[in-house]
Amino acid sequence: MKLTVNGETREDLKAATVQELLDELNIQSGRVAVEVNLRIVKKADYGSFSLHDGDAVEIVNFVGGG
């Protein structure tokens, strides 16, 4: 499956859901927000939200800013 994650095209990922993707990328789900194809995925839906070939996923968190 081909996913675009944070702007990078990846073909090596096995995750079928958002939660699996976070796990695979070793990202704690507690402090991020996830968008798939410009639509926000609620934390409660990470486990059930399926990823499909060609999906664009954005995973963001808080960084230092003013």
């Binding site: 994650v5 944070n6 702007g7 990078e8 990328l25 070793n26 990202i27 704690q28 402090r31 991020v32 927000a33 996830v34 968008e35 410009l38 926000i40 609620k42 934390k43 954005e58 995973i59 963001v60 968190n61 808080f62 960084v63 230092g64 800013g65 003013g66």
Partner: protein, 274 residues
């Protein structure tokens, strides 16, 4: 004796708000914030670094004892405890209404509250807001339940319009972000304070502690700054300076200063002279 700032029911203990950008590392960030006494910190929303974190071979090359944690690692909140500090996400870097809305919504999802420091930037050189875009974004986000704190210019009409559109407060700039010029137009700030019935937090452009004191003496409700601390030679000392600057200015504002006069008035008595 209580002098708390309350915005949409949220109580702010400190009238100094600080940003978390441009520090050497997270440890310095944490120490500076601690020294500043602020209970509100702004943060930006950025992509998580998705380089595989389990990969052992990376650490063969990069010794974490030697190299600092990358600024966009997800660990900021390990240093800034959200139980202790109110996290205020911004939409820095957004040049369109759409981007500002997108970042705001992501920020709410990533965070714990409806607070958003809304920025719709007009150009790269000045980082002044695009106020018409800001006004529309404010209206949309306020309807979605956000507590919108818009970063705006010092135009009194715009301040009024933003509040009418649902903003919880206005955050006019003192001067361009990072410029250190202090309040360049106290007249406009004064007019906003007198004509717009909402909290006013001066945002951006402050350079040193007296700038902060001046802002508070004008009657502003709080000051938000970042570069003035992070860019000082000794950020921790400057953070403390800012803490006292806000206290000094606020107390002076409430104490009621003496009027200005061209001529002198003696402070020692004339009676009893030899």
């Amino acid at each position: 004796m209580e002098d708390k700032l309350i915005i949409k029911g949220i109580e702010f203990k400190s009238r100094l708000w600080v940003g978390t950008g441009k520090y050497k590392d997270f440890e310095e960030t944490a120490r500076a914030i601690e020294a500043s006494g602020a209970d509100v910190v702004t943060v930006a929303v950025r992509r998580v670094n998705i380089i595989d974190r389990k990969s052992e071979n990376l650490l063969d090359f990069i010794d974490p004892k030697k190299y600092k944690i990358l600024p966009n690692s997800e660990n900021l909140l390990d240093f800034i405890d959200p139980k202790k500090y109110k996290i205020l996400p911004n939409t820095a870097g957004c040049y369109t209404i759409e981007d500002a809305l997108r970042y705001s919504r992501l920020a709410r999802e990533a965070g714990v509250s409806d607070l958003i420091k809304l920025e719709v930037i007009g150009d790269e050189k000045t980082l002044f807001p695009d106020v018409c875009g800001l006004l529309k974004a404010t209206e949309i986000l306020a309807k979605e339940g956000f507590i919108v704190l818009p970063y705006t210019n010092d135009d009194p009409i715009m301040a009024k319009r933003l509040i009418d559109a649902g903003a919880a407060a206005v955050m006019p700039l003192a001067a361009p972000i990072g410029s250190g010029l202090g309040i360049r137009n106290p007249y406009n700030i004064k007019i906003i304070l007198e004509t717009v019935d909402a909290p006013l937090i001066v945002d951006a452009g402050v350079g040193t502690a007296s700038d902060v004191a001046v802002a508070m003496e004008l009657g502003c409700d709080a000051v938000l700054l970042n570069t003035a601390i992070a860019g000082a030679k000794d950020p921790i000392a400057m953070a403390e300076a800012m803490k006292y600057g806000v206290m000094a200015g606020r107390l002076a504002y409430k104490a009621g200063r003496i009027p200005k006069k061209l001529y002198a008035t003696a402070s020692s008595p004339l009676e009893g002279m030899l």
